[in-house]
């Protein structure tokens, strides 16, 4: 088993004292941003990215991914104790988590949520461990046409799977592509859409967009709702944790189902949020007594948390192997890799073996460390949430500004962050999805490059996208996902008897 020995090598890389220290710092910072409104996985990692510029890439990615695990864990605390989802993917956790807390079962709910997150992540990491090398080896055969087809697949699945209106998904995605095109064209060296402004020469950085859209935008939304923190307190002791664990074994089927949903939604860019809702809905439908859902059923905590964490983790699989992130946070991590001069994609597994396996090993360790940290520090985070919003809100604005400034040490970026913030607020209120915008902004240059290379190879003929079985397969799959809503409704119409 090649993977096992590689993984052991990875553990040797990850298990050094400084790296474990960075894991602890990362998890703690991650839980902090997960708990605070307005700071989430994607923008939290984006803000903290500059902190890692002076570190070596392996330690840096370990810390960043641990921030991400921490944020995933942290979202559950606010959902259960305060009925405030700290993260979009923990909205579904509030449905049963908060009722449990009201009934005095907060500790069980938290223990169940943390354990479910852990299990979800563990299965996703196992999936990454054993499929990533295969996928990377397979992707080595990819040419520009195949890469463009995979990117097409990513974006088509956004359109086909989205719950938002299709024109709005399209708009959001195209804005991302258009913003990515601003600046110097890498092929011809021509300036595009800069209109003589020197600040636009290097284009729009997606990190600024992420911090503005998700950070400032979220704060504006939160202010609108008017936050009054009235939370339940919780103390977790080992006995409750143990009892909950014994109880959780009975729900192994829910776990497996949720892991499957989560991994699937993470690899195709559905993301953690739809995965959590889908998994919750599935658990409710398959339950023997669906009426107890929403009233404090522990299954209603297990299902969304497992799926969200599985999705969040498996989103790193396409990011590492193909260079195509499955979620905005994975996109930010990809941005980090690029900054350190590591090009994600199949070659990463050949050229930077130590880095890749160090990262994968750190996923195992980071989640174990994360589980221990959150189980022991819940009261502290709950106390954190009692700090009034009049202190938290300006501090978050300051943190966002620092994050935006440090990306390029440019004041222009802080101004852009505010613009993106207002846009994020409007878009969220008008149901324009933000994830396609961010992903298009990240992948824009890459998608354009592979498209132009393909066109160059075929002398401008689209037939290159069905020139061989591999690329044809991916293209057909992409189009299938694009027209999935139509196909689905067509099937339903055919299977339904005509009204007489």
């Amino acid at each position: 088993m090649d993977e096992i020995s590689n993984l052991l090598g990875g553990f040797a890389v990850a298990l050094t004292l400084p790296n474990i220290g960075f894991m602890l710092i990362g998890i703690t910072l991650g839980v902090l941003i997960g708990v605070l409104p307005g700071l989430g996985g994607a923008n939290g990692v984006a803000i903290l990215l500059p902190l890692t510029f002076s570190m070596n890439p392996t330690s840096a990615i370990i810390m960043l991914s641990c921030i991400y695990w921490g944020a995933l864990f942290g979202g559950a605390i606010t959902s259960i104790l305060f009925n405030i989802p700290g993260e979009p993917w923990s909205v579904a956790t509030t449905f049963d988590g908060y009722p449990m807390a009201q009934q005095g079962r907060a500790a069980q709910a938290l223990a169940a949520a943390f354990t479910s997150s852990f299990v979800g992540a563990l299965f996703a990491v196992l999936l990454i461990t054993f499929t990533a090398p295969l996928l990377a080896r397979f992707a080595l055969k990819f040419g520009p046409a195949e890469f463009f087809a995979v990117q097409l697949l990513t974006f088509c699945s956004f359109i086909g799977m989205s719950k938002e209106p299709v024109p709005k998904v399209l708009c959001s995605m195209m804005i991302g592509f258009a913003l990515a095109a601003v600046g110097m064209d890498t092929v011809t060296g021509q300036l595009r859409m800069t209109f003589g402004f020197p600040a636009l020469l290097k284009g729009f950085d997606f990190l600024i967009a992420v911090i503005g859209l998700f950070g400032i935008g979220e704060i504006l939304l939160t202010m609108e709702e008017g936050l009054a923190f009235k939370g339940k307190s919780a103390k977790i002791n080992f006995r409750v944790v143990w009892q909950t664990w014994v109880e959780l074994v009975r729900y192994w089927k829910t776990f497996l189902r949720s892991v499957a949903v989560g991994c699937w939604m993470g690899i195709t860019p559905g993301g953690a949020t739809p995965a959590s809702f889908m998994s919750y809905g599935m658990a409710q439908r398959m339950s023997k007594n669906p009426a107890t859902f929403g009233k404090g059923n522990i299954e209603g905590v297990i299902a969304p948390e497992t799926a969200a964490h599985a999705a969040g983790t498996s989103a790193l699989l396409p990011m590492l192997t193909l260079g195509i992130p499955g979620s905005p946070t994975a996109a930010v991590l990809l941005g980090g890799l690029l900054i350190w001069g590591l090009q994600p994609g199949p070659m990463l597994f050949v050229e930077h073996k130590e880095f890749v396996w160090g990262l994968i090993a750190s996923m195992y360790l980071g989640n174990i460390v994360g589980l221990l940290v959150v189980l022991t520090t819940v009261p502290f985070w709950a106390a954190m949430l009692r700090i009034p919003f009049s202190v938290i809100a300006p501090v978050i604005v300051v943190i966002c500004a620092i994050g935006a400034y440090t990306v390029h040490s440019a004041m222009f970026d802080v101004v852009m962050m505010m613009v993106f913030g207002v846009a994020g607020y409007l878009f969220k209120k008008l149901r324009y999805p933000l994830a396609p915008l961010v992903l298009a902004l990240v992948l824009g240059d890459m998608a354009e490059a592979s498209f132009r290379q393909s066109m160059l190879m075929s002398q401008g003929s689209f037939s290159i996208f069905w020139a061989n079985p591999l690329v044809t397969g991916i293209t057909v799959l992409a189009l299938g996902l694009l027209f999935w809503p139509l196909i689905n409704s067509g099937f339903r119409r055919m299977s339904r008897p005509r009204p007489a």
Binding site: P50, L51, S54, P165, P167, K168, L170, C171, M174, I175, F177, A178, A181, D185, V187, T188, Q190, R192, M193, F195, I216, I219, L220, M223, E224, E225, G226, L227, A228, P388, F389, S390, V391, A393, P394, V395, V397, V398, A401, I402, Y405, T406, S409, M411, V414, M417, M418, V422, Y425, L426, F427, K429, L430, Y432, E448, F451, R452, M455, L456, G460
Partner: protein, 181 residues
Amino acid sequence: MSDGPEAAATSGSDPAEGAPAAVAITERWPELAVAGFLMLLAVIDIVDSVRVGTGWADDGPKAGYFPFYIGLILLGASGWIFVRTLMRWRQLAGSFVSREELGGVWAVLWPSAVYAALMTVLGLYVASMLLIGYFMRRHGRYGWAVSVVVSIGVPVVFYLVFERWFLVPLPKGPLEAAIGL
């Protein structure tokens, strides 16, 4: 009026509870404005792509080749939303944001905008002190002592973490220059 949610929360009662919220803006205007703005972006994109060339040069597709089609799709999608909004004009009378909600948003939006502007002049640290101090005094109703300690303490912590520990420089202004940081 923009006391923010905090004032209501700390006084222990919510005056707006039960009373129907006054609608400040209905859904249709923001929907139309955003779609219109996106159409404008699309036109800018298309015009500029045409300027750099959308066709085929000796060395392959020209620089405007890809963005041109992006612009066309954006124009189509946003135009569709624009027209649909006009067609459903009467139905879109629901509330986009109520007066209270808008007040809350405005209460954080304008200080943040001023903060970004001040940062260019005063540097990040002084601007942050002013922002945090303003919020605590205005919305948190804290005493001067607490407000001053927190609003100076937080930037100092950021200074230590970013500049000392992680060696990331942050923008500084005349005050930092005067004390020689």
